[in-house]
């Protein structure tokens, strides 16, 4: 092989490389334009709602701009008191239901997950299969009998139907998520603790729980978001306006079509999703990892 052919090939190779680089750069630019435009379209409705919550009534409809000409902070005050019951009550109700639901979910689901992931007992495989099957049952199938049961117990128009099921590990999804996490923890820890005479409860409390804080936090966050947004449960069980949670109250704005109060309605809508957005901003990493890990929602 002569020097001439060698340099020829290397020239060709470098030519190929620059060509490839240029093509990659162009593709990268196109990709960025695509991503920027799509994300703007995605986020625009939310920003529009935020700006509409600050616009005066006559500037809301068909107005595409995201910057209000005048800031109508009054909307928030009006919205807060627009319904016969003030939003202070609705937010308090939502907070009570959500906080208790989150606590119930984390405790009861971690109990069940600990039993499935770490303890040996007869019938475990059958229970596990049944637990996984409940993941697939649509809520609508159990809704009516559950309602009749709670009606018998006199629990309709209280928060008990919304809270008690959470203390009975009603969300198999969280059990599944926690089992996945518990299984990654080394078993030697349990065994060493057992030799030292720890009871299963002590192992759960002093070893498994402290090491599973990320999983518990993930479950707590999802549980918070879903309970806070839950509409069907409160819709079925709460009839008295002073018991309403925030989503039910928001819906009142839509049903009273005669009153045109779009600004205040958007103001309350923004406030209703604010806790979720804050949670999302703070715990974004955990949320995204939780979805990749469990593949749900």
């Amino acid at each position: 092989m002569t020097d001439a052919t060698l340099s020829n090939t290397s020239a060709l190779a470098s030519q190929y490389r620059t060509l490839k680089l240029r093509r990659a750069r162009r593709a990268g630019l196109l990709k960025h334009i695509f991503l920027i435009i799509t994300s703007l379209i995605m986020i625009y409705p939310l920003l529009w709602m935020l700006s509409s919550s600050l616009k005066p009534e006559n500037q809301i409809f068909g107005d595409l701009s995201l910057w209000p000409a005048t800031f109508e902070w009054e909307n928030y005050w009006q919205g807060w008191n627009a319904l016969p019951v003030s939003f202070t009550t609705f937010f308090w109700n939502s907070t009570v239901v959500t906080v208790l639901s989150v606590i119930g979910n984390v405790i009861s689901c971690s109990f069940a997950a600990y039993a499935f992931a770490r303890l040996e007992f007869s019938g475990k495989t059958i229970w596990f299969a049944l637990m996984m099957m409940t993941l697939m049952i649509p809520y609508h199938v159990v809704l009516i009998p559950q309602y009749l049961l709670f009606l018998q117990l006199g629990w309709v128009d209280t928060y008990l139907p919304l809270i008690v099921p959470r203390f009975l590990a009603g969300d198999a999804f969280f059990i599944f998520l926690m089992i996945q996490f518990f299984r990654q923890l080394p078993r030697e820890l349990d065994e060493a603790a057992m030799i030292d005479g720890c009871s299963p409860f002590k192992i759960y409390w002093a070893i498994i729980m402290p090491l599973s804080l990320p999983a518990m936090a993930t479950a707590a966050i999802f549980s918070f978001i879903w309970t806070w947004e839950d509409f069907l449960g409160p819709l079925v069980y709460l009839n008295d306006m002073k018991d309403y949670t925030v989503p039910l109250a928001l819906r009142m704005f839509v049903s009273q079509d005669s009153v045109s109060q779009y600004g205040p309605m958007f103001a309350m809508s923004i406030l209703s999703i604010l806790p979720i957005i804050l949670f999302f901003v703070v715990f974004q990493r955990l949320i995204i990892r939780g979805i990749a890990m469990s593949g749900l929602k």
Binding site: K31, F34, L35, T38, S39, M42, I43, P45, L46, W48, F61, G62, L64, C109, F111, A112, Y114, A115, F116, E120, F121, K124, W127, L130, M136, I137, P138, H140, V141, V142, L143, I144, P145, Q146, Y147, L149, L168, A169, G170, P200, Y204, E229, F231, L232, L235, V236, P247, F253, V254, S255, F266, S269, S272, I273, I277, F280, I291, A292, G295, L296
Partner: protein
């Protein structure tokens, strides 16, 4: 006997909350719901056994049932593929190291986390109002937009767009799946002068098939169950002209507006069977297009 007791005690103690919940809130209600579906029951008078009459009536005479099926199927068949295609396109654009990927991921996921809330359903009603933002954009192109919400020909599209807007979680799952495809495959294909389309259909799609399948099944089930958006946007009853009469909305109305608990239970069972049937079909067809890595040997 005592040994048996001691060996199983801890496991069942930890499982107790779930077990109670399983029998009282899952298994019991499922059985009760099946029983109620063979009765006529309005809460006031005790259930009255009528055999298969609910089902006969449903399939022979109930036009709203047929309408609800048609609306729900249309919604599932259009919104699920739209959502998945969108999710895959964005995931592919985000794959292979885009700058600020964390930001994009968060922005694209945010609608999914808010999508189930009443605030977003309210927002959607205003966006698609005749004088709303969507028609303002349409007007730029010199087209007079339709009455999206009150014209039965268009109303379902508002909900399809709402569903597609929430493509965040399948996107995150696709992203994790794309990461697992080895880069050498693409490089090898490039040497063989394969274009982007060829690479997509010959490498990405087959290797991603298990993830596509997983997302498809999950999103299909979610779509069949979706409720609050349709409920709020349709004013609670499936209006206009039942064009938004989702199966779940019809079920809710039968059960809690008209107190036809027996008939609503039969509807719930039909929903359960439809979901099971579609999942089974998906699994059955998956033999032909989904191949798992470890199967090839």
């Amino acid at each position: 006997m005592e040994k048996f007791f001691r060996r199983n005690f801890a496991g069942y103690a930890f499982l107790a909350p779930w077990l109670i919940g399983f029998f009282l809130l899952a298994l019991g209600p499922i059985v009760a719901s099946l029983y109620l579906s063979f009765t006529k029951y309005n809460i006031v008078r005790p259930p009255q056994w009528i055999g298969l009459d609910n089902y006969f009536y449903m399939f022979q005479f109930d036009d709203r049932f047929k309408k609800a099926l048609q609306v729900t199927f249309t919604f599932v068949v259009i919104s699920v593929p739209a959502k998945l295609i969108f999710a895959l396109a964005v995931a592919m654009a985000l794959d292979k190291g885009v700058r600020a990927i964390g930001w994009y991921r968060a922005l694209f996921y945010l609608p999914s986390i808010l999508g189930g809330s009443i605030a977003v359903a309210i927002l959607w009603r205003q966006l698609f109002d005749y004088n709303g933002v969507i028609n303002a954009v349409v007007r730029w192109f010199g087209i007079d937009g339709p009455y999206w919400l009150s014209d039965p020909r268009y109303s379902l599209w508002t909900l399809i767009v709402l569903a597609a807007w929430q493509f965040g979680s399948p996107m995150l799952i696709f992203l994790a799946g794309l990461r697992a495809i080895p880069n050498d495959l693409y490089e090898a294909a490039e040497i063989d002068a394969a274009g982007p389309v060829r690479k997509f259909f010959a490498i990405t799609v087959p290797l991603l098939a298990p993830v596509i399948f997983f997302n498809l099944v999950l999103q299909m089930i979610e779509a069949f169950k979706s409720f609050s958006g349709a409920f709020v946007i349709s004013g609670g009853a499936g209006a206009p002209l039942d064009s938004l009469l989702f199966f779940t909305v019809y079920l809710y109305n039968e059960a809690f507006q008209f107190l036809r608990m027996g008939y609503a239970s039969a509807l719930a069972w039909v929903l359960l069977l439809i979901i099971a049937l579609f999942t089974a079909i998906a699994f059955w067809t998956s033999k032909y297009w989904v191949h798992y890595e470890n199967e090839r040997g």
